[in-house]
Amino acid sequence: MWKYVLKRLLQGVITVWFIATATFIAMHNVPGDPLSGERATNEVIRANLEARYGLDRPILEQYFIYLGNMLRGDFGMSFTQQNREVNDIIREHFPVSATLGILAITFAALGGILWGALTSLYRNRLPDYIIMFVVILCISVPSFVFAALGQLALVNLNALFGTSILPVAGWGTVSHMILPALVLGLGTMAYLTRLMRSSMLEVMNADYVRTAKAKGLTPARIFTHHQLRNAVLPVVTVLGPAIAAITTGGFVVELVFAIPGLGRYFVQAVQQLDYTVIMGTTVFYGAFLVFMVILVDIVYGWIDPRVRLK
């Protein structure tokens, strides 16, 4: 087990290094440069600014300085907001995105497992058809449409009841989080429902289920202890990529619901071409996602020994 964990962690570190390098190369090839904006009109001013930001050094040296800073967890200063460190921005806005993401993934995973198990029990009967129709719909409708529709519905509901049942936008209290988390988790939930359904159907007729039946266990016990436990395994495997999808899908939801998360900040930084913020958030997000995937893999290896032995 420990060997497996160590191996996965080492892979993760190399992957993060790859992400950091790709980001560095990409940002160095952006047309224009960080100083082409307003202040550097004069040659001398330009040279001074370049020296201040270390842009006059050879590119390889810049790369190693960049890697060194990343290792120390120092992402530098923002180019567009004076005296604001990228670390501050991440520290301030990432918890918001993370809260939203955790809520959404919890909702998606629980909902997906529940609905998937339910459809498999009612296979080819009305509840199955209805749920699978909704699932197909949820997979085919882009998240921003759900965000917009959810907001629209909320506006009408609030108007109908004359009071604010849930706030339409913003961030702060638990009531602010409910609708965005639902909207964000919906697509993933639909995907997990499909997966859970097919994996349940596969487990349905497995030998060990037949044995359990022959032993005389109640259908309820077979369902919870034999079928559900085995069918959940594939769902756990895709949780890693699902977390990645939900985190980046958060950009749209943060935009529509005016939530001060890191995703919205990243989009804004890209639009303003704020080099350090773009690089910092990309590497930070990348590292976060890579280690989330690894975490899921390790948990999976712990649940299902076949994986780590392979």
Partner: protein
């Protein structure tokens, strides 16, 4: 004594073929190729077949649509801004419009109004201008005029202030600010000498009628004979079957233009990255060994890149120059990031096929590597590749819509379904049709490709049959 049977001498007649019996019914199915078989299976799947028709209809909508509905998707119709589908498009013809002096009153019109009413109209309210006048409010020195879409019930919520009137100014105003053919509520409040707002206000509901001057008809090139028109005649403004957006652009034309962009990206990008993935994966799987390991390790790294983050990053790197639509950078970014999943899949397939007997046979017969890969291996993985391709289309369309929605996709004025949805978000509450149509197009297309992909997988991939 033994009885021996007489030795029968064989004659040549013994070697004649027997007469043809009426043979047992022939139980052989006509031989069908893999693709014929798959096609029959697909045709039996009603859901997949309908999806296929929808996909074809969408392609026709994008390709043939703009040839039939010849409206410039970038042209603005300022007379019809944000109108819904099937909106009233009649307009009365009037003569040249002159600025109001604040005194002249259309006697025939004002006679219909209540003399004692506070805020009054001086002429029929039309989209060219609404002429308002009001009596003195006791205690008021200066006045402020408001316009709103909602009835005024409280002095604190009268709408948008459109004009202020200094002490002694004429209590009359001609509103010409972006008037649409709809209902407006005008209100006027007074302020006393200290600048305190009075509690009293006058309000008036106005139903504005759409009019068009002869000069405008001529400049718009409406399909009518300008010479024969008289003031008071009715003309029809340009038709917009699905309404217009917030800049007065025709929705149908923009949906068609958007379909071209969205489907172009949605179809070409998957073709490119699946193609690259197939070559990459086939090469790795065929060569095998150390090369395969290194190639796949590299693919693993690319998979680990956070997809949307790097999509956005690459969009910036490949830059959208002035006058460009941003389609090419998006294609490059999509191809650079999406190929590994196909490569992995194809490699796995090739590794299996490599051990098959027919490959050994082909090798023994002296088939070159190129021949083995392109004649035997890739055709045998084609079913899987086709299914991957079908599922790659909706995800590419989603990615385009997502990026355009957050403002990192195609650059305006290029229309795509995603960018149209983005623009419509601001007016979602008042003009939902602007969001509804592009969102519907995305959803239907993605749904059709998803169901078609399911059907294709069932038809082509025997092992996956029956799964969801």
């Amino acid at each position: 004594m033994s009885i021996r049977p007489p030795i029968r001498t064989l004659r040549s007649a013994d070697f004649e073929p027997l007469p043809q019996h009426s043979a047992a019914p022939l139980l052989v199915r006509p031989s069908r190729s893999y693709w014929q078989d798959a096609w029959i299976r697909l045709k039996a799947n009603r859901r997949a077949l309908i999806s296929l028709y929808i996909v074809i209809a969408m392609l026709l909508f994008a390709v043939v649509g703009p040839l039939v509905w010849r409206v410039d998707p970038a042209a603005q119709d300022v007379d019809q801004i944000s109108v819904g589908p099937g909106a009233d498009r009649r307009a009365f013809v009037i003569g040249p419009w002159e600025t109001w002096d604040g005194e002249t009153v259309d006697a025939a019109f004002t006679a219909q109004q209540d003399e004692n009413q506070g805020l009054r109209l001086a002429a029929a309210p039309v989209t060219q201008g609404v002429r308002l006048m009001w009596p003195e409010i006791p205690g008021a020195v200066t006045y402020r005029l408001y316009r709103s879409h909602f009835a005024a019930v409280d002095v604190t919520a009268l709408g948008i202030p459109i004009a202020d009137f200094a002490e002694g100014a004429r209590r009359a105003y001609e509103d010409r600010l972006d008037l649409q053919a709809r209902q407006y509520f005008y209100s006027v409040t007074g302020f006393d000498r200290e600048g305190q707002r009075l509690e009293d206000f006058l309000t008036l509901e106005v139903e504005v009628q759409r009019v068009i001057t002869l000069a405008e008809i001529a400049s718009k090139q409406l399909p009518v004979d300008v010479e024969s028109l008289q003031p008071g005649d009715l003309v029809m403004l340009a038709a917009h079957p699905l309404g217009t957006d917030y800049l007065g652009r025709d929705m149908l034309a923009r949906l068609m233009a958007g379909a071209r962009v969205s489907l172009f990206i949605g179809l070409l990008a998957p073709l490119l990255f699946v193609g690259f993935g197939v070559i990459y994966g086939a090469t790795a799987g065929f060569i095998g060994g150390r090369v395969d390991q290194y190639m796949m390790r590299f693919a693993d790294f690319v998979v680990a890149l956070p997809f949307l983050l790097f999509m956005i990053l690459f969009q910036v790197v490949f830059g959208i120059g002035p006058g460009e639509s941003g389609i090419v950078p998006m294609m490059i970014a999509l191809v650079l990031l999406s190929w590994p999943s196909t490569a992995r899949l194809v490699r796995g397939q090739i590794l299996q096929i490599r051990e098959e007997a027919y490959i050994s046979a082909a090798r023994l017969l002296g088939g070159s590597h190129f021949y083995l890969i392109f004649r035997h291996m890739i055709p045998n993985t084609l079913g899987v590749i086709l299914v991957t391709l079908t599922f790659a289309v909706p995800s590419a369309i989603f990615t385009e819509a997502f990026l355009s929605f957050i403002g990192m996709g195609v650059a305006p004025p290029t229309a795509s379904w995603g960018s149209m949805s983005n623009e419509a978000l601001k007016t979602m509450l008042t003009h939902p049709h602007e969001l509804f149509f592009p969102a519907l197009m995305i959803s239907i297309t993605v749904l059709a490709f998803n169901l078609l992909g399911d059907g294709l997988r069932d038809a082509l991939d025997a092992r996956m049959r029956g799964r969801d």
